[in-house]
Every structure is written in structure tokens, then in C-alpha cells.
Amino acid sequence: MAVVVELWCVAALLALAVLAVPLSRAHAGSPIVYGGALVLSLIGLGNAVAALAAPAGTLALPLGLPGTGAHFRLDGLSAVFLAIVHLCGASASLYAIGYGRHADAPGRVLPFFPAFLAAMSLVLLADDAYSFLFAWESMSLASWALVIADHRAAENRRAAYVYLVMASFGTFLLMLAFGLLAGTAGIYDFVGLRAHPPAALVGGVVLGLALLGAGSKAGLVPLHAWLPLAHPAAPSHVSALMSAGMTKVAVYGFLRIVFDLMGPPQWWWGIPVLAAGAASAALGVLYALMQSDIKRALAYSTIENIGIVFVGLGLALAFTANALPAAGALALTAALFHALNHALFKSLLFFGAGAVLGATGVRDMERMGGLIHGMPVTAFAMLIACAAISALPPLNGFVSEWLIFQAILISPELPAWGLKLLVPAAGALLALAAALAAACFVRLYGISFLGRPRGPQAAAAREVDRWQLGAMLALAGLCVLAGVLPGLVIDAMAPAVAALTGARMPPQAGVAWLSIIPVAESRSSYNGLLVLVFVAGSAALVAAAIHRFASRAVRRAPAWDCGFPNAGLRTQYTASSFAQPIRRVFGATVFSAREQIHMPPPGDLSPARFRLRLVDPAWDGLYLPLARAVWALSGRMNALQYLSIRRYLALVFGALVLLLLVLALWG
């Protein structure tokens, strides 16, 4: 049975984690551990893909919560996410065989990497509340250990701390949600919970808790502020795994609770989900545009993509609640598809960032440039990833966004007014996010890979090893494949979608020319394969024609200097100057950007200084005030620990008198 195979994979990964402790001292330890993780992830991947259309398999073990036991279940939804996670795991392992060789302290990474993979799989397999939260929190713990792997840098410690607290916050909220679902009877297994859906009001609260709990893990605005700290702090293959894999597990958690355990949705459930998703999509990418640290920019872009996924989920909820199951299936498929796509290209992007980091030693884009010369293959793979995440046809990112737009276009059929007004606004934000994402990745790619090197490290960068290139090229290939053959993916996800929404998209397998048709052919259709063929064909055609009939001569010359000779490297656009127009459009309102330019008076030869201050409003408006409040409160309370013995006795005395008074007045 598939679920047994998956559990054996988990067990083997855990064994590998234990084994990694002694292995990390050995020279060959790193390839062995990553190689093992690669093989296990591939086995799991194959198993999950095979389980996509299979009936759900369950298994109960006498572990975990007494009385309930540990229940595991592998159904369509789990299989979709297992496939995504294993895909991320396999590619990260492959990449790390090369990348992990240069780790300073392998002992702090090797044991936790397989454990992290195992915990993620376990979340997806869990079929009772305790196992689910146990695995969920273990996942946080393992990834926390990876975030703090480079523990000597103070900012990493801070990132890890914020991350762990936020992870725990999310877990506690989910615990509350499960508590509400479990009710006084204390039903913890999902089978029982499914049989007892909560009352309407309780359901609303559970939805809120699940949205906050799973959303904080996924990085929804405004709880996202930990994510851009934590994801980049880890080693790059782990960053990829966190951004691409773990956020999907969070999405799965939301799906499992809200779509599966809570019975039929209420009409308004889509509203908060849609609003949070749209806000995350737009704000996430705007933040990403402002970052000059390449990994931070990627982390913020994760927030954007999670926002897109949640918009899809919100639409699916709204449709399903309002008796439009087919539309719900379309929205849910779009969300799942986007989750897959994001896993693919975000892994690839982090791998690329890791390769750059390994080759140059810098994460700051302002010190990169011209890497396309030294690292052509990496640059090629990154180009595909950047195009894919910018939702450009014929790559995969476009397909899922297109499907979500198609779902939005069905929404006038929704009866409720709130949704009617919200959905187009969400659509506009989504379109804005897509366009800004393109801007963001033009900037990211253009500044770091194109132009001239902005520093000696960038100039000396050399291509990375074969393992890393292999992982990157494989993912790039998958990005293209998912883009040109989306019908396969949609059909593969159909069983999972059907189980949650009660409907499915029209089968795509029989459509001529491998097109995809979300609703009906007269309404809309798209064919990635033909777009690719047409674009490639016409480009080839015109190239051939020009080379044949016109000129093919090439001459190298200095760049045109507009009459200003000796244009130094500093005259290039920088990451922050590239973002300046957009910063001026959105910055003042969204993150109170402040630019200070210190221009020396004429005749003064001192350099002009430019300083930019950006504030993440979630950090300044939510995290910091809370932290300050806790600190101030603890300061107040702390005074109570320095009283005299007499005062302590007075406390005891006071408590006694109070209780006696209660007895006297009550009794």
C-alpha cells in the first residue's frame, strides 16, 4: 500500500538523520546523507505520483496520542502535496550533493535535513490531530535547527528566534482550532472529525484560526515578517526547501482543515481568505522589489506566490459554498497547480542564488553583475525560472495564473454581494502582482546576472559543479514541461480536487492538440505547447531568413558611451536605482520609504551619499509593538521579584484574605 511505502520512507529518512550525526564527521558523510535523501525522496515521489488517482489508503499505528493512536492516510490531496514535497526534497538533495560539500559545519545541517524532509512528509500523511501537529511542529523545529546552522551570525540567531516563536504561535492557533473541532468528546482522529462537522459559528472561528495558524507558516500578510528573515538565513538548499516545500505543507494544512474537516463551507468563508491572499500577493512582491539581498527578495516573492495560492483557495471556498462546484474545482486546481509551479521555480531560484552565493560569496545584488559570463549554465536555468515566476507563456507560472484569472471570470455568478465586490478587486491586485513580479525578476536577473561585475567577487565567479547544475537544469526542464503540458498536471490533480469540491475540471486528456480548456472551448482555452512551437518556430524562421538573405556579420566594439568616455562600473544602474520608479509610485504609502540624498555643494569633492530607509509595516506595526509591550510588561512584573520578605508575606496574606472574603460573601 502506498501509505506504508511513504511511512517507510519517513522512517528511513529519520534513520538517516540519526546516522548523519556520526557521518557528519566523516569526509564522505555529506554525499552519503544527501544521496540517501535523494534516493528516498525519489522513491517517495514515485509512490506519491502513483497514489494520485488511487483510492485513499489508511494505516493506524499504536503510537502517539493514547486512546487515539497515530493514524495515517494517503489520499489524493496528500498525494499531490507529497509529490510536491518529494520533488523539492529530491532536487534539494541532488543540489546539496554538490553544494553541501563546502559547508563549514556539516554537523549542524546533515542530521536535520533528512529529519526536516521526514517531518514534512509526516504532516501530509497524518490523519489525526495529534500526529498532524506533532509532525507540523517537528517540521518547524527541524527547519529552525537548519536556519540557525550558521549560528555565529547575530542576524541568523535573531531570524531563527523570530521564526521559532512564530512557528509556535501558528501551532498553538492550530491546536486551538483542533480543540474546537474535537469538542468536549475529545475526538482527535480525522475520520471522527469529518463525521462531526462544527456548528456554523464555531466553524467560522476555526476558519479564522486555521487561516492565521497555517497562514503564518505559509507567510500570509501581515504575519509574514518572520519569513524573509528565516528562509534566507538557512543554507541555500534548505532555503529552497523551506520556501518551496514547507510553505506548501502550510497550504496543505489549511486545505485539510478547512476543505476536508469542516464540512460544507459557509458563503462568507471565502472572503477573509481571498482578502488575505490578495493582500499578500500584492504586498509580497512590492517588498521583494525593494530588497537588494537576493535571497531575501526570493523569500518575499514566496509571500507573493502564497498569496496567489490563497486567492485560488478563497475562490474555491466561495464557489463551493455557493453551489458552483465546477468553478470551485477550477479555482482549487489553479491553486494546487500554482503551488506545484511555485515549488518548481522557487527551488530553482534559490538554487541559483545558492550557486551565486557559493561562487561569489555575496548575497547582496549590488555587488554582483555580469555573472552570465562566468556562470552561463546557471544563468540559463535562472532565466527560465525568472520567466516562469513572472508568469510568461509558455512556462508553467503563466498557466496557473491564467487558470486563476479564468476562475475569477466566473465569479459574477456568485450570489453574495460582498464576494461580488471583493473578487474583481482581488483580480486587480493579482494582475498588479503579476506585473510587479515581472518587474521584480527583471531587476533580480538583470542586476545580478547581466551588466558588468560590480565587485571583484562577481568578476571572478566561476560555474558551479555538475550536481548543482544538474538539479537546476532538471527543475528548469520541469518548469517548461509543466508549462507546455498543463493538461497532464490538471488531470493528475483531478481526484484530489474532486474529493474536496465534489466536482472536477473537464478532463484535458482528450482535448485536441494538448490544449487546456478550463470550462468550455468557446469560453477560453490555452495551448502552451503551440505557443512554444510558434514562438520558437517564428524566431528560428526569422533568424534563418535574416542570416540567409541579409547579414550575419558581427563586430565587437565598446559600448556606446553617449560621448562620456571612461564610463566606470559605478555608472551602471543598481538594484535600488532600478526599483526607484516603483518605489516612488508605491513606496511612500506602502512602506514609508525615506530617501535621503546628501549632495556636496559644487566644488566639494566628497562623494554624494544616498541613504534609503524602508520599513516593513508588519514588522513596525505588529511585531515590534508586541515585542515592546511584552518587554515593558515583563519589566513591570520583574519589580515584583525584588520585594522584601514582608511584602511577599503580604501577598500570601492578601490572597488568603481575598479567598476568605469570597467564601464569606459567596458561600
Binding site: Y642, S644, I645, L649
Partner: protein, 220 residues
């Protein structure tokens, strides 16, 4: 048992409460210690009366302990400490006498109210005794809370303990009363020895327990 038994017990217990209030009123240590010795004597009488009334000879042991230990040995020891540490001046109270007395009266009232809720099925003797004992306990605690001085806190604690012994002796047939009184004597002895042994005055310059807390090193 006639009403005489009840009246005598009542009178003695009431005397204990009264003495507790008087102790609250004292603002000089030597006088406080003397009042405490007097309270111990009254306690001895009360316990002896209970021993007689209940026909429980072992309570005489408790009475003897109370007399020997609390009415004689401890007061003498405390007196010595006071003299040695030069404390026979005013008692430093945290709360001035007036409010303390008001609080004391309120506590007595509170203990009465609380006890009155207890159904009358319980032995009336025990019930009244308990009300007084509770008053003594609360007043003892009040003294510990309102005095800054370690010696007067010890006295407050012992007065509290007097209330306990009163209650234990009043509980007819209660086992282990003697053991408890012994245990408490040991406790009190520890406290007194503690003050003596660690020469808190020498080390901290004052027996004021607030000073102990001020002593702590860079915790803040």
C-alpha cells in the same frame, strides 16, 4: 459537660484574641515580647482546660511545651537578641498603629463571618474555638506583614502558631496534636537560631528583612 466548660474555653480563647490585638498595638519590642509570653501562658491555660474537659491527658504535654518553650525560653532568648542587637527602641512598623488596629478588628469580624457559615451541627465548642483560632492566625499574619523587624516577625509567627495550637487542641480527639506542637517548636527554634546563628544584624547591618533583599547582587 455543662456550660461551664464552654464558658471557660470561650473566655480563654477570647483572651488569646484580645492579647493578639494588644500585641498589634505594642510598638516597643520588649513590651511585645512580654505580651507574647502572656499569650503563651493563656494558651497553656486554654490547652490544659481542653485536656481536662476532653479527658485527653496527652494535651497536657502540649500545654507544658507551650509554657516552657513559648512562655519562658523563647521570650528570654528573644529578649537577649534584642538587647544584643540593640533593638530595644521603637518597633519599626510598616503600617501605623491605627490602621493596623482597624485591619485587626476587620479580620476578627471576617473570621467570625466565615465560621458562622459552618453549620451548627458541628460541636459548638469547636466552632467557637475555631473562630477565635482563625482570628489569632490572621492577626499573627497581619503582624508579620506590618512589622519590618525580624524579631517582631518571629513573634508574629509564633502568635500565629498559638492560634494553630488552640485550634488543634480544640478539635476533640484530634491525633498528633503533641507531635504538631513539637514540630512547631522545632520550627520556631530554627527561626530564632537562624537569627542568632547567622547574626543577621552583623551581616546586613539591620534585622530589617527589607535590607536582606536590598543585599542581592546585580540581579536587577
Amino acid at each position: 459537660m455543662g456550660s461551664l466548660v464552654f464558658d471557660v474555653a470561650h473566655l480563654l480563647a477570647g483572651g488569646l484574641v484580645l492579647l493578639s490585638l494588644v500585641m498589634l498595638y505594642q510598638d516597643r519590642l520588649p513590651a511585645l515580647i512580654r505580651m507574647f509570653a502572656l499569650q503563651a501562658v493563656v494558651l497553656t491555660l486554654s490547652v490544659s482546660w481542653q485536656a481536662y474537659a476532653q479527658g485527653a491527658p496527652h494535651l497536657y504535654v502540649t500545654a507544658a511545651i507551650a509554657l516552657a518553650f513559648k512562655a519562658i525560653i523563647i521570650p528570654i532568648a528573644l529578649q537577649r537578641i534584642v538587647v544584643r542587637l540593640g533593638l530595644h527602641r521603637e518597633v519599626e512598623t510598616a503600617l501605623s498603629i491605627g490602621p493596623t488596629m482597624v485591619a485587626g478588628i476587620a479580620l476578627v469580624a471576617l473570621s467570625m463571618v466565615v465560621m458562622l457559615r459552618v453549620t451548627a451541627e458541628a460541636d459548638p465548642l469547636a466552632r467557637e474555638d475555631l473562630a477565635f483560632a482563625l482570628s489569632v492566625v490572621l492577626l499573627g499574619l497581619l503582624m508579620m506583614v506590618t512589622r519590618r523587624n525580624a524579631v517582631s516577625q518571629v513573634v508574629g509567627f509564633m502568635s500565629l502558631e498559638n492560634g494553630l495550637i488552640l485550634a488543634a487542641a480544640g478539635a476533640k480527639g484530634m491525633p498528633l496534636v503533641v507531635e504538631i506542637s513539637v514540630a512547631f517548636s522545632v520550627l520556631v527554634a530554627f527561626i530564632v537560631i537562624g537569627i542568632f546563628l547567622f547574626r543577621i544584624r552583623e551581616r546586613f547591618d539591620t534585622v530589617d528583612s527589607a535590607a536582606l533583599d536590598r543585599f542581592r547582587e546585580g540581579q536587577r
